[in-house]
């Protein structure tokens, strides 16, 4: 199994966390994985991008136009990072706007559940897993979240992830 995934967002939206959960999911499946993250000043509300490469890769960066999947935590980022996704690849986007992507109002869903805005990242991850576009199934990611999330955030995190999965089922995914 080889898959290249980008996670695009704005500093503070939890792109690094998503990257980490995807990496941990690869570990659970026994797959080699290397990821790249944005740290430093851009984390203060600037545009950020993370990358996940599952399978036999050497370096952490994905070339432009080579990602199989893009997770976009902010709809505006499609204009900036959309081109990282290869022709025929899948873009999963936190947006209500229609387009050539799998869209979900993840922020609205998170707030609707009484969760913090940052939980939108896990809603989107659950949605992507539920739509079957990731290298791993939703149950693997749910297990990662159960194992890795501190006890006080665990329930909310699984709630957000489950909401994304449920939205995927409704969307027929």
């Amino acid at each position: 199994m080889r898959q290249q995934i980008i996670v695009s967002g704005v500093g503070g939206q939890g792109a690094v966390t998503l990257t980490r959960w995807l990496g941990e999911a690869a570990m659970l499946l026994g797959l080699p994985v290397i990821t790249s993250e944005t740290h430093g000043m851009a984390q203060r509300g600037g545009t950020v991008i993370s990358m996940v490469k599952v399978g036999g890769f050497r370096g952490p960066l994905i070339p432009w136009g080579a990602a199989d999947v893009g997770l976009f935590l902010h709809g505006d980022n499609l204009a900036v990072h959309g081109g990282y996704v290869r022709p025929g690849g899948v873009r999963v986007v936190n947006t209500q706007a229609p387009g050539a992507h799998l869209g979900l109002d993840a922020l609205g869903a998170a707030l609707g559940l009484g969760l913090k805005p940052v939980a939108a990242n896990l809603v989107l991850l659950g949605y992507a897993a539920g739509r079957g576009v990731l290298f791993c199934g939703a149950e693997v990611l749910a297990e990662v979240i159960r194992q890795q999330t501190p006890a006080r955030f665990r329930e909310d995190s699984l709630l957000a992830f489950g909401a994304g999965e449920a939205a995927a089922r409704e969307a027929g995914g």
Binding site: G11, R20, M27, I34, E37, G40, G59, G65, A79, P117
Partner: protein
């Protein structure tokens, strides 16, 4: 001859792999290898190394002294002395931190070390979060210190072990030079066992070495030269050779670090995997002499891929080498997969892959909603429209968005620059208001000597210390004011006001940063002091805990709203730049964004029409 295998040390049975950030792999390996003192000053991309040392020591019960030192020079010297006692030691910093530590670094090469001493200097090709794009390997070359250049987190971990062994074998400091794409890559990394070294401190007095005067330094310089020559003669550090199929016998690729990893990925992407001889260099300085002679004698064209500078290229010489100096590789900048794809295709005579122009756009970083710095910058700009605002390095550099940061040079420079601006203008008579801003951690790091110098030479300016009680930009490391070490142990707090007074400052005020009317009043009072007959440097400590810390999250909140009184002047959006405020196009006025507003209520003081209201309890 035994060759250090990079597949070793593998995880012993029972120890598994873990998904680790490159910096976590380095920190963990330092503890595994028996380092008993690790010191650091935080800076992207090196910040997570020391925290990983602390975590690994805690997890494994290893006895380690880990400290956030006040700056990189102090960190270096502290760790060096532990090595002089025969104990393994490490110091970690970002590339510009090595500039701060350059003085002890250069001399340490001459005097050498006793216990293994690893200098971790993390470079930032790009740059992504640094004021320069410099190559620490060039400093290693200048100082004559061997340097290891890991390709990924797994190799960074292995090189910690190998580097400490090398350091002890030659009694030399060894540099480990990861780049951003190693530090901030995560990978499945094998864990090793912790092998504690029973090495009680034993400092052997030898003034001719440890206090070497110039007459001894001459001898030590020869000894350093001999060590390097011996080290460069070791075939065991020969690069990893990945032979090609033989179709291009006249060409080879020489690559190190993350550039080697991405070059291998891009050769596969181009369908050219295994088509050309490939040497992956692990120690770019000193390059092993036998290998250099072999490569120069074998190939007509040698493509050198390294980041960010030409370190291997300099040693291989001109002529057959295609690299950053010869023009086949861009002269500077990160070797991203896109850049490498173009370079590799050109070298192999293939059609270059189409690469669109880099994506533009996106949003710029900005101070967090509720950040105490924002109001201070706003007050500065409003109070002194004609002011000059030297600043410094940290989150608060983002005050540039609010028009209240005119300079940002290097750690501590804002204060010295303020003094220099004063002397420059005072030479012509009158001087404008000069207000320097500096964060609390940066003040401890390099601001104190600058402040003493400014006071002593009777400069007249205002210094605002933005005290958010943490080192925020790099992940909230404690400052000396807090009285707690990197390991969570009690420490002796060193408070800012006492320090400022001890620097000779006669005007000091402390203020809650959210209280804009008071901040403005004090700024005016400080300006009057600067211009009075006995005036000098006036210092204002503006305090509010960083909202990303537990203390910051405990601060009282307000319910904030924009009333019908909003006249749509956009002053709050443009001069205050808080993402908690947004423009409502349909209504032609500003509004609170309930998702991002944290209810600090500071914008109440900003609205010229008095149309922002806040009530307690958000």
């Amino acid at each position: 001859m035994t060759r250090p295998s990079l597949a070793q040390p593998a995880a012993p049975p029972g120890l598994s792999e873990r998904l680790l950030l490159g910096n976590e792999a380095i920190g963990r390996a330092l503890v595994e290898a028996g380092v008993s003192l690790a010191a650091s000053y935080p800076g992207t991309p090196a910040s997570e190394i020391l925290a990983a040392v602390v975590a690994a020591a805690h997890e494994t019960g290893a006895e380690v002294h880990a400290e956030w030192s006040i700056n990189e020079k102090v960190a270096f010297e502290t760790a060096l002395a532990n090595s002089m006692c025969g104990r393994r030691s490490a110091v970690a910093m970002k590339q510009v931190g090595l500039n701060v530590a350059a003085d002890p670094f250069f001399r340490a090469a001459y005097l050498g070390v006793t216990g293994g001493f690893l200098v971790v200097a993390a470079d930032d090709p790009g740059p992504h979060s640094s004021q320069t794009e410099q190559d620490s390997r060039l400093l290693a070359l200048a100082a004559q210190v061997p340097v290891l250049d890991p390709m990924d987190p797994r190799e960074a971990r292995e090189m910690v072990h190998l580097g400490l062994q090398l350091s002890e074998r030659y009694e030399l400091p060894v540099m480990l030079r990861p780049t951003t794409r190693v530090c901030h890559a995560r990978q499945n990394v094998p864990l090793g066992e912790v092998r504690p070294l029973e090495r009680p401190a034993r400092f052997v007095r030898d003034p001719g070495r440890w206090a070497a005067t110039p007459v001894f330094v001459r001898e030590l310089h020869w000894r350093l030269h001999d060590k390097l020559t011996a080290l460069a003669g070791e075939a065991q550090w020969a690069p990893e050779f990945l032979p090609g199929e033989g179709g291009r016998p006249e060409k080879c690729i020489v690559a190190s670090g993350a550039a080697a990893a991405h070059a291998l990925d891009m050769l596969a992407e181009l369908g050219a995997a295994g088509q050309v001889d490939f040497y992956r260099v692990r120690m770019p300085f000193p390059l092993p002499r036998p290998w250099v002679e072999q490569v120069l004698g074998t190939y007509r064209e040698i493509l050198v891929l390294e980041e960010p500078g030409p370190v291997m290229e300099l040693q291989l010489g001109a002529g057959r080498v295609r690299g950053r100096q010869s023009g086949q590789v861009p002269g500077f900048g990160e070797l991203t997969p896109e850049v490498l794809g173009r370079v590799l295709a050109g070298f192999l005579g293939m059609a270059a892959p189409e690469v669109p122009a880099p994506a533009a756009g996106g949003v710029r970083p900005t101070l967090c909603p509720g950040c105490g710095h924002r109001g201070v910058f706003y007050a500065l700009r409003e109070t002194f429209p004609q002011g000059i605002f030297p600043s410094d390095i940290g989150c608060y550099t983002l005050g540039i968005n609010l028009g209240a940061v005119d300079t940002c040079h290097c750690m501590g420079a804002g204060i010295s620059q303020a003094a220099g601006f004063y002397h420059a203008y005072a030479a012509g008579g009158d001087f404008p208001p000069i207000v320097a801003t500096i964060g609390d951690s940066t003040f401890y790091h390099a601001g104190i000597p600058a402040l003493i110098n400014a006071v002593f030479h009777r400069a007249r300016f205002i210094l605002v210390i933005l005290d958010n009680q943490t080192t925020a930009m790099t992940g909230h490391q404690p400052t000396p004011a807090l009285g707690v070490t990197a390991q969570g142990r009690p420490a002796t707090p060193v408070a800012l006001p006492e320090l400022v007074r001890a620097c000779g400052v006669k005007f000091l005020r402390e203020v809650e940063a959210y209280n804009l009317p008071e901040v403005k009043d004090i700024l005016l009072e400080a300006d009057r002091f600067c211009r009075s007959s006995e005036g000098g440097v006036a210092v204002l400590i503006a305090r509010h805990p960083c909202l990303l810390t537990p203390e910051g999250r405990r601060q009282p909140r307000h319910r904030v709203r924009v009333t019908e009184g909003c006249v749509g002047c956009r002053h709050c959006l443009e001069a205050f730049e808080c993402r908690g405020l947004r423009w409502e196009e349909a209504e032609g006025r500003a509004a609170i964004d309930p998702v991002t507003c944290v209810g600090c209520g500071v914008c109440v003081h900003v609205c010229p029409a008095g149309a922002i209201e806040a009530e307690a309890g958000g």
